[in-house]
Amino acid sequence: MADRVARRRCVERAWGWVSPTYRALGLTFRVRIEDAGVAGFLGAALAPFEVVGGEPVVGYDVFDDSADRAGRWVVLRDGEPVGVPGTRPVALQWFFWDLNRAVVEASRDDFLLVHAGAVARNGAAVLLPGPPGCGKTTLTAALLRSGFAYLSDESPALEAVTGLLHPYPKALSVEIGAREALADLEPRGAERPPSGWAWDQWIVDPRAVSGSGGIAGPVPVRMVVFPEYVGGAETWLEPLPRAQAVLLLAANSFNFGDRPAAHLRAVAALVGGATCHRLTSGEAAAAATVVAAAFDAAMRDARQPAPAR
């Protein structure tokens, strides 16, 4: 009953902001929100997904559903409720949560989704897989400052058929532990989250990072680095056997088990064309310098002609 009422009220809305069409991997979508006051924040967070033309397949609507405008905000995806009603920032958090889930669901048949950061330059990618808290976003941002282009800080997508890594260029989610290293990325003005925002994250457009090479297109992977943040540690990059990298990549993917044999072959092919490393570091800039130098060396080696027999 409540859902039907929410759907009916949705039809009657005067929308404060209607987004352009966005595309994230296999999901094409748009957003409408009743309150134009958060358009700057939402627009900045979603800007990397903007596409020219195209019809959205999925529509999100975010609005205050209470009859007395008391702040009972809801999120509808194609008319169906997402999460539970709450304050405006809570509704926005449900929106971001569901968007990420919907992107994964729309893409999992075509891609192996790796829990990783990823950047690229000169037509090849560095993949940075790891669990939450290992320093993926901080290292990704530091590499963007070194001129790399952005693929993702969360879930780049490996296309098994081509072996190319596709971007999922969601806004950088800067956790509280990374704020000191990335202090200059703190959102300001209209791009700040709305009052009451509960997540301990800054949402940052990766293209706003000084020195960033923008958003990368699909590219092959030439380097895989498993980062580990250790406070106070010196930066240390060491080779990792490729077979171990296969196991770690499988463990750090969202949907390896969907098609395990095909994904195993795809991951083996990926590491076969890449150098694989473990990285220990307590300082993002130093880590980025070491990774960038190793990546450039790997690219030079890849361009060397094979020795004559």
């Binding site: 056997p241 490729r242 077979a243 171990q244 296969v246 196991l247 499988a250 390896f256 088990g257 395990p260 044999a261 195993l264 072959r265 083996a268 590491v271 076969g272």
Partner: protein, 96 residues
Amino acid sequence: MTADAIGPGTVVHVEPAVVSVDVDGELVVLDERTGDLHLLDPMGSLVFRCLGSGTLGEIAADFVEEVGGDPDAVLADVVALVRDLRTRGLVGFGEP
């Protein structure tokens, strides 16, 4: 057959649901029934590739001929590996 009864006359096959890929000479082995991945070292990978081609005694003899080593020690290593693979559910006894 029990794992304890494995010997030089035993024939072993890789289970049909097991898939492997070679990565720099090491096999990464997937059991599609469980989704589990296993990593075999280079020697284990070499033996794994030979399973089904003869008895364990014949495989061990071929191994000694190619790589060298004490025949009894090599056979013991092959049997120990097969016991481990059997425990992990990756191989069975006899023809598949």
